[in-house]
Amino acid sequence: MPRLMPRRSATLLAIVFLLGTAPFSEAKPRDPAHAITSQLICPCSCGEVLSGCTCETGKTMQGYVENAIKQGKGKDQIVGALVARYGEVIRGAPKPEGFNLLVWVLPFAATLAGFAIAFLVLRRMVRRRAVIPTSQGALVADRGGLSPGRTLEDDLEALRARAEAELRRMRE
């Protein structure tokens, strides 16, 4: 059973982070125009997301999107036309392809890697604690704040030496 844990955890994490690709802002789009303009950036220097932009260029663009929808154009068609005119910079998020795929993959890959490392570190620390041999060959399960992998006598000796050194320093 313990062996299954990492696999289970990994599967669970994968599910959680796959859900991450579902856009939060599109959970309940208010209207088709907003669904498009909330994913675009105003092409003027203001740099605002188009749906909330109040500059003249932004308002013109919002009008363009609304008109295009009324004319029966689809989302891809409208976005495609705007990208052809203003370039990729108009997309609020880059298309997940080519080099730009990295920006989509790396955060989740790093999170999963972080979890995996934390899991392995924790497991190693827990295992080390469970089995710490003493000089007599017995097993010590709990040794409070003492150093791992050393005998109690070693630690006692080290502590005694440290106490003496500190006393000497205080006297000086």
Partner: protein, 652 residues
């Protein structure tokens, strides 16, 4: 006067070098004289930075256009209070404010520990003085605010209209107090490594300094969000703008540190990790200034042209490399004193929470810097904005919300099955109930439901913790419940202060959820007497006025607000056209209720005389600000936890 300003900065530079050299010599030889001189030099830099600020403020208030900085950031018609805040409107002034706060931290630090004779504190001051060398040097040789124009213009270029807002008078200094303050924890960490010090006493002091600047940074971020809400006029408060991200990143890593430091204090573990987090927080606060001031965000080309960008980048690289090298060099000092008892424990949950904080920071860092990297690699300009961050950061943040509930109810060392059952069943049930109740009210989709579940889960665990605390004390059976709660908080301010901060976080999450997912929007051109309907509200245009306001022409739409057929207020949504920049700026009209904001914007006046009105209903947005206030309250309570420290000091 400009010569005096330049001299003050140059002397500041010289004193910073002297402070570092003198303290280093004192530490090496053990003589107290050089240490005392070094401390005095740090005080002197603070006095010189204050003098430079006073001189620049004098020029700004007098609108002395012979100063290049004054001519670039003020004008004669600029109101006096905005002339004062122009100090932090531009690069040179902002750097000067940085230096003033940095040197003030150095002085405050030395004042706080003036009775401690331990040279350890001098080593901390030395690290602070090293950073002072960088900033005084930058202000003296690269980006001086005291540059004089050969031919002063008759009037200045004026202040950026966006900065002409009362919020901008306090937001940057508070934010900087948070940003710059991370120098003290960084100083502590580096001093521990430099002097090869063991022990955990310093970690409590670091925790308090970190909490202090973390609180300021949090308040600064919230003030910035509030400013964006009322000044930018796009209906929201957080746009994942690079400047916002720059301030969020050190706050996130600092939050992670405030959690993992508890493991070091209680169990003597994660020492390397904690020092690395402190160093990362400091580097990110420098990086934030670099990001906003270097021009790197505009494009790689403007970075190359920036006069301070390469200096900042070099400083980040050098200080980051030095910190990493020191950590590796003192690896033995940072070895854990204890081992983990079980994976399912509070220590384990804090470790995973740290992974999420760092992952969230990494995602924010990557998204913020990726346009520059992509342009450099592919040659094509791209944008990485809110649509990206909403998809990537939101799930990580929700996972953190869930851990906010789980961590505090897991026992230290090992959480047994019975503890898990006792602590998790009720919160889980409450979470499911809350999500179930929210569904008929329009909560759809995975994220909103997870957010509601998480919020209810966390609140239940906090209530359970308070209930257990009161039950365990049994000291004031006759006292009223609020009095018992206050008594409980007073007994362990740090612990319950933390729970109050968590409550603030929950309120913040719920506020963000309500105002983003349930936001309503409507817009229409209105002529006088015409109405716009949005939700339960009807907005009727009463008229449009135009008047001169100091340095701008203000066009105002007067809107009658009705709810359910009953007039509930008259609001004024305006557009200001500033004389200098000729840039139209939005002045939002807000009709506030505890449940929601009715947010109204005047888009402009059309050729046919109609006014373009845009309105939003932002439900629960008050919880964002309320959550912030609760977080500040919790931070103050946690900071005031001195009794236990005094007890420990007396004992040891």
């Amino acid at each position: 006067m400009s010569e005096l300003g330049r001299l003050a900065l140059f002397l500041g530079f010289a004193c910073s070098i002297f402070a570092v050299g003198s303290i280093a010599w004192g530490l090496r030889t053990g003589y107290s004289g050089p240490l005392r001189s070094g401390r005095r030099a740090v005080w002197t830099v603070c006095a010189l930075a204050l003098l430079a600020v006073i001189l620049l403020e004098r020029a700004l208030l007098a609108r002395d256009m012979s100063y290049r900085y004054v001519a670039e950031h003020t004008s004669k018609d600029l109101p006096l209070h905005y002339a004062f805040s122009s100090l932090w409107a531009g690069q040179e002034g902002s750097l000067l404010l940085w230096l003033l706060i940095l040197s003030a931290y150095g002085s405050a630090f030395l004042f706080a520990y003036r009775k401690r004779l331990d040279p350890f504190y001098d080593a901390v001051a030395m690290v602070i003085a090293t950073v002072m060398i960088f900033f005084t040097g930058l202000l003296t040789f690269v980006s001086s605010p005291f540059r004089i124009l050969a031919t002063p213009p008759p009037d200045g270029m004026g202040l950026n209209p966006l900065l002409q807002d009362p919020g901008m008078m306090i937001h940057p200094p508070i934010l900087y107090t948070g940003y710059v303050g991370f120098i003290v924890p960084f100083g502590f960490a580096m001093a521990v490594l430099l002097l090869n010090r063991s022990g955990t006493r310093w970690i409590e002091e670091v925790r308090r300094w970190t909490l202090f600047c973390w609180g300021f940074l949090g308040v600064g971020i919230l003030l910035g969000a509030r400013w964006a809400y009322v000044e930018l006029g796009w209906g929201g408060y957080w746009g994942w703008d690079p400047v916002e991200n720059a301030s969020l990143m050190p706050w996130l890593v600092g939050t992670g540190f405030l959690h993992s430091v508890m493991i070091e204090q209680r169990r003597g573990m994660l020492k390397t990790w904690n020092i690395a987090l402190i160093a990362l927080t400091f580097e990110l606060s420098i990086f934030g200034t670099f990001l906003t001031r270097s021009g790197v965000l505009t494009s790689v080309h403007s970075f190359a042209e920036s006069n301070i960008g390469p200096w900042f980048l070099s400083f980040i690289l050098i200080s980051g490399t030095a910190a990493t090298a020191l950590i590796l060099y003192r690896k033995a000092l940072l070895e854990s004193e204890n081992r983990m008892d079980a994976m399912i424990s509070r220590e384990g949950s804090f470790l995973f929470n740290n992974v999420l904080f760092v992952a969230l920071t990494f995602a924010t860092f990557l998204g913020t810097t990726f346009p520059v990297v992509s342009e450099a690699v592919t040659g094509t300009k791209i944008s990485v904005s809110a649509p990206f961050f909403n998809r990537v950061n939101v799930p990580i943040a929700l996972a953190l919300l869930l851990l906010t509930g789980a961590g505090p109810v897991l026992s230290w060392k090992r959480a047994t099955a019975s503890v898990l059952k006792r602590n998790f069943v009720l919160p889980t049930v409450m979470g499911i109930l809350a999500a179930g109740i929210a569904m008929p009210f329009g909560a759809e989709g995975v994220y909103p439901l997870v957010c509601i579940f998480g919020a209810a889960f966390v609140v239940t665990t906090i209530v359970m913790e308070f209930a257990r605390g009161i039950q365990a004390r049994k000291s004031s059976e006759t006292a009223a419940l609020p009095a018992q709660v206050v008594h409980l908080v007073k007994k362990n301010k740090r612990r319950y202060g933390g729970y109050i901060v968590h409550t603030g976080i929950v309120l913040l999450f719920v506020g963000v959820l309500g105002s983003s997912v349930f936001q309503k929007e409507a817009h229409a051109p209105l002529k006088t007497g015409e109405a716009l309907h949005i939700g339960p509200y009807t907005l009727t245009l009463r008229g449009v006025t135009e008047r001169q306001k100091e340095n701008a022409i203000l066009t105002t739409a007067i809107l009658g607000v009705e709810r359910g057929g009953k007039l509930v207020g008259t609001e004024h949504a305006s557009k200001a056209l500033y004389s200098k920049s000729q840039q139209p700026m939005t002045e939002v009209a807000l009709h506030w209720t505890p449940a929601e904001d009715l947010y109204m914007i005047l888009g402009g006046v059309n050729e046919d005389g109609s006014a373009s009105i845009q309105a939003y209903i932002n439900p629960l947005v008050s919880l964002v600000w309320g959550g912030g206030i609760v977080m500040v309250l919790g931070t103050l309570i946690a900071l005031s936890d001195r009794m236990r420290i005094r007890r420990e000091e007396k004992a040891g």
